[in-house]
Symmetry: C2
Subunit: 212 residues, 2 copies
């Protein structure tokens, strides 16, 4: 049975996973400290680390395993709002997006897909969470990665569509921003949670949806 999985979602000590505003210069707004504390995620495997292979690398390296398709919020694709401008924007990643699978971008402004040679295809879909998930599953076999940002993760959590979350608490304080927890009181009742602490200062949480 295919799972909906969230991987490597960073959360500050005060609960934020992104800044309030995203610009071309600041893809995650004022929340850069979430990533500067540990930038060693090895989404395509531990062989991409020079030396050494540390526990945090091992634990963040499952991102790609068995994933057939990703769903992301519009702000993960770009900082634009409203109707898409004719600006040639193809995402933050240039000609080599790291996904290598179909990607469903949630937006109120649908447009034609954008396809890359490495297998990445962005599909722009205006749909609520459950419908977007059905569409994503129609594009590919395998598990579905819910790629963030926090607004879309929150929407899927509240619709009870998430099977697995890997959260990374980073020991930084952001002050303000976007949180997956807003409106999520008692969320923990639906999940079993396991916590692993690492000498680096990161805390990894694995949330698994209880049997329905």
């Amino acid at each position: 049975m295919a799972k909906v999985r969230v991987h490597n979602l960073n959360i500050s000590l005060d609960g934020f996973s992104a800044g309030d505003e995203v610009t071309f210069d600041k893809p995650i707004g004022e929340a850069g400290a979430l990533f500067s504390r540990f930038d060693g995620r090895v989404i395509w495997g531990v062989q991409h680390i020079d030396d050494p292979i540390r526990a945090d690398h091992v634990i963040t390296s499952t991102w790609h395993q068995g994933i057939g398709v990703e769903i992301m919020g519009r702000r993960k694709f770009g900082p634009q709002t409203g109707p898409w401008p004719d600006d040639g924007w193809v995402g933050w990643w240039g000609e080599e997006p790291p996904f290598k699978t179909p990607v469903v971008v949630l937006t109120h402004h649908e447009r034609e897909p954008i396809e890359f040679e490495n297998g990445t295809v962005f599909h722009f879909v205006d749909a609520p969470a459950a419908e977007a998930l059905d569409y994503a599953k129609s594009l590919a076999d395998g598990d579905v990665r819910l790629g963030g940002g926090p607004t879309s993760v929150r929407e899927f959590l509240q619709a009870d569509l998430v099977d697995f979350l890997h959260l990374v608490t980073v020991p930084v304080v952001i002050g303000s921003g976007v949180s997956i927890w807003d409106g999520g009181a008692d969320l923990q009742d639906r999940f079993d949670v396991e916590t692993v602490t690492i000498g680096s200062g990161l805390t990894h949480q694995f949330w698994n949806r209880r049997s329905r």
Copy 2:
């Protein structure tokens, strides 16, 4: 630079990774408790777990990442000793060995390779560690997994040919068996060690060879 990596090597509280004798009925001798305590290793990725995906699964799932070739001791391939009998034996795994790459089997009795449709090819080589490693690297690009058992891991450690070890201390007592530590006094001086404890009772250690 390609690494030599050991993954998911189980060690009992008294330091053993296999029993003293291996038979057709007991592939790891009297050390079965090492595996019954946690049998959830997901060597080809976390998507192969039904539910839930726990921390131990995540941490043991890097086994395949970027590996081009495996080296194993003869006892990992089969219980026979001396010249190979004409018994049709092709390894413990039948027609679907999990490796899917070339595998160098260390033996004093060389023989023709055995090839499987899934990409696994066993090569039988009589050579000391450094020479066997060169041969393995000539067969494929990528990192080299040193697959065990403990006797061959010990040989490579003593020859200082190991870059990364993921050891799993399992909370069981075996009483006797084979250990990677024999003759390895001061081994720790060559490595940086990180330890991660899990609620399951397993302790994961990541050993990284210091820069030479």
